[in-house]
């Protein structure tokens, strides 16, 4: 077994698989997961077919809405499950007093973390796989392409992975599993909801000097919600994370530019920014609205929302992994505090 294989596949992974699947918790988690996901799918389907407006728009629209609900609900479910899977990974070993026993073996601390992560993430992948039949129902109605499903699953998987890595980092840092679990759920809330709130509180400001169509702040894309929404609906983000600073004093649409007469501008439902000129009495598009689901401006200009989200989440995962690997060894090469000086022997 070479070093790379040993790092990726170590006894901890095998032991974790064995012990995890022998408890009643795993089958229960799988059952609850499927029941909830299937239940929400059925409820949304029932509600949508009851609503005549959706039926009039055709079955493709129904499929798209069903997919949107399912994929967002799935990511919310995983946000509840993943911290529980990983928050006890290291602190649990500490509490069970088995961590020292692993430290005296030749297994590297990084391999311990990797083994724990691999085992937890395998369970998440299992959950994602068993949800595929439910998602395949969407194809009965159409409106969703296979590539949308694949990108949505990539975003969901990476989100779960990020939450898992952050959970292990807290598990390494905090001595108690309870504290690590609370911190991991807190971090999950910040990553998924907090970043969205950031977009509401501190939106991108668009004013008269703007030359490109504004996009929500990059940090808001850490949350998978906007990217999953854009994947499912195939529509650009409108009305979120952007504030038009030149407010029309008479009410109505905001004023984006005051050059060339009075212009009232606002985000268009089709994307882009629509402005109307009082002098000309006609409406026109100030910016190209045909941005589809690409980010129109900012740090990730031209990227798909989900690509930006995946990249940022991978960076968080990497940081969490490095942090865990540095914090775990019992005898660390670096110290957060200065070393105490041994007293000279009292004679």
């Amino acid at each position: 077994m070479n070093a790379a294989t040993r790092a990726l596949w170590n006894p901890i992974v095998a032991k974790e698989y064995r012990t995890r699947m022998r408890t009643w918790r795993s089958p229960l988690a799988i059952t609850v997961y499927i029941v909830l996901l299937g239940g929400i799918g059925w409820a949304v389907f029932a509600a949508l077919t009851f609503s005549s407006s959706v039926i009039n728009q055709g079955s493709g629209s129904l499929g798209q809405m069903l997919f949107t609900f399912l994929i967002l609900f799935q990511v919310a479910l995983l946000a509840f499950i993943t911290p529980a899977l990983t928050a006890g990974a290291i602190s649990g070993e500490r509490e069970r007093q088995t961590l020292d026993l692993l430290f005296v073996t030749p297994i590297a601390p990084f391999s311990i973390i990797w083994g724990k992560l691999l085992a937890s993430m395998s369970f998440v992948v299992l959950l994602l796989l068993i949800s595929v039949p439910i998602f395949s129902l969407v194809f009965l109605f159409g409106g969703i392409e296979a590539d949308q499903v694949v990108s949505a699953f990539i975003v969901t998987g990476v989100t779960a992975m990020t939450l898992g890595f952050v959970g292990v980092a807290f598990s390494t840092m905090l001595r108690r599993t309870l504290a690590a679990t609370v911190a991991s759920y807190g971090a999950a809330f910040v990553l998924l909801v907090g970043t969205l709130l950031y977009g509401l509180l501190f939106p991108t400001l668009a004013d008269a000097s703007s030359t490109t169509q504004p996009a929500p702040p990059a940090i808001t894309l850490i949350s998978p919600v906007i990217p999953l929404w854009t994947i499912a609906t195939n529509l650009p983000v409108t009305g979120y994370g952007v504030r038009y600073t030149n407010v029309n004093p008479k009410g109505g649409p905001a004023i984006l530019s005051s050059s060339g007469g009075q212009q009232y501008c606002a985000p268009s439902p089709q994307g882009g920014v629509m402005c109307s000129s009082q002098t000309a009495g006609s409406s026109f598009y100030l910016f190209s609205f045909n941005t589809a689901t690409a980010i129109p401006s900012g740090l990730f200009q031209g990227w798909q929302y989900w690509q930006a989200s995946v990249v940022m989440q991978l960076m968080i995962s990497l940081a969490a992994l490095l942090f865990s690997a540095l914090m775990l060894p019992p005898v660390r090469r670096f110290r957060l505090r200065r070393r105490a000086v041994p007293p000279s022997r009292a004679e």
Binding site: K15, R22, Q97, L101, V104, P106, A340, P343, R345
Partner: protein, 308 residues
């Protein structure tokens, strides 16, 4: 095999270890004695390269515990003062897991597990869940776990704590067997009579300082001022006390619980002279036994006052 030189460990303002030094040659069983919080576990954790010392050095088979951690880990079998078992694993799987952690090839692991289970007398428990075992049996599994990579040195932290007398006897037998296999063993314990019987060397530690170290009988002789005798006589207790008190070798004599307890200076010949003096005076002696409770006395003496 083990050399500890001026080892210190400071937590905040408190010195857990204060320039502790001792040596354990190959194949010796070194008993590490001290009250709670004396520094036994700290010393063993430093020797197991799980804790960095604040000062001083420690070597296992020539390898510095702070520099050659991997080499040290390959030479030691460490058994902490807790069991450290996983739920949902059988005894066989538990040992196989640690054997795999020690990079033993899969083909060899089955034999290693079977041999170790035979060594600790648990072959028939191979398929039982580790978590469901009694304390004594868990302790045996943990001893087997410390041996999966056939280490030359065993560091056992309070292995007898919480065990019933039978389990203690079994543990003692296991350790003797391991000594016979050439292992060097360091064992920390509160149970002093056990250590006297089992250990060849001893170190008494208190408040982070090594009070005395060396071969067991040397340490006892150094710390206790005299030997003790328990003597039973049929009727003439007062007469016996009158005969014993003036003897020059007797340091102290008194009647305790229907028998005479005498402390004397000298060796076995002196003891036989004392017996002769009693019998020649016509005292009918029914029991005459040297008392081997020396380690307890030595321990109390060492931990109650400074020993040079």
């Amino acid at each position: 095999m083990i050399a500890v030189e001026e080892l210190s460990k400071v937590y905040g303002n408190r010195a857990a270890l204060d320039h502790v030094s001792f040596e354990v040659p190959v194949r010796e069983i070194f008993g590490f004695v001290g009250p709670n919080g004396a520094g036994k576990t700290t010393t063993l954790r430093i020797l197991a390269a799980l804790l960095a010392p604040t000062g001083g050095k420690a070597f296992i088979d020539g390898s510095d515990v702070t520099r050659d951690r991997e080499k040290v880990h390959s030479r030691i079998g460490y058994m902490p003062d807790f069991f450290g078992v996983y739920d949902q694993l059988t005894v066989g799987e538990y040992l196989d897991f640690y054997a795999a952690c020690y990079r033993q090839p899969k083909q060899r692991r089955r034999k290693i597990v079977d041999d170790l289970l035979a060594l600790v007398g648990m072959t028939e428990r191979k398929n039982q869940q580790v978590d469901s075992l009694s304390r004594g049996l868990k302790q045996r599994v943990c001893l087997a776990r410390a041996l999966v990579h056939d280490p030359a040195v065993l560091l056992l932290d309070e292995p007898a704590s919480g065990l019933d007398p039978r389990a203690r006897v079994e543990l003692r037998e296991n350790l003797r067997e391991l000594q016979g296999m050439g292992k060097t063993i360091v064992i920390s314990s509160h149970i002093l009579p056990e250590l006297t019987e089992l250990c060849t060397m001893i170190g008494i530690i208190d408040h982070g300082r090594m009070r005395a170290t060396g071969p067991v009988h040397e340490v006892i002789a150094r710390l206790t001022s005299g030997r003790r005798l328990h003597i039973r006589v049929l009727d003439e207790k007062e007469a016996a006390l009158e005969i014993l008190t003036p003897l020059p070798s007797i340091r102290h004599v008194e009647a305790v619980n229907g028998m005479i307890e005498a402390e004397y200076d000298g060796d076995e010949r002196t003891a036989s002279d004392i017996l002769l003096a009693l019998t020649q005076a016509g005292i009918r002696v029914s029991s005459f036994a040297p008392v081997d409770g020396g380690l307890e006395d030595a321990f109390l003496k060492a931990t109650s006052e400074e020993v040079g």
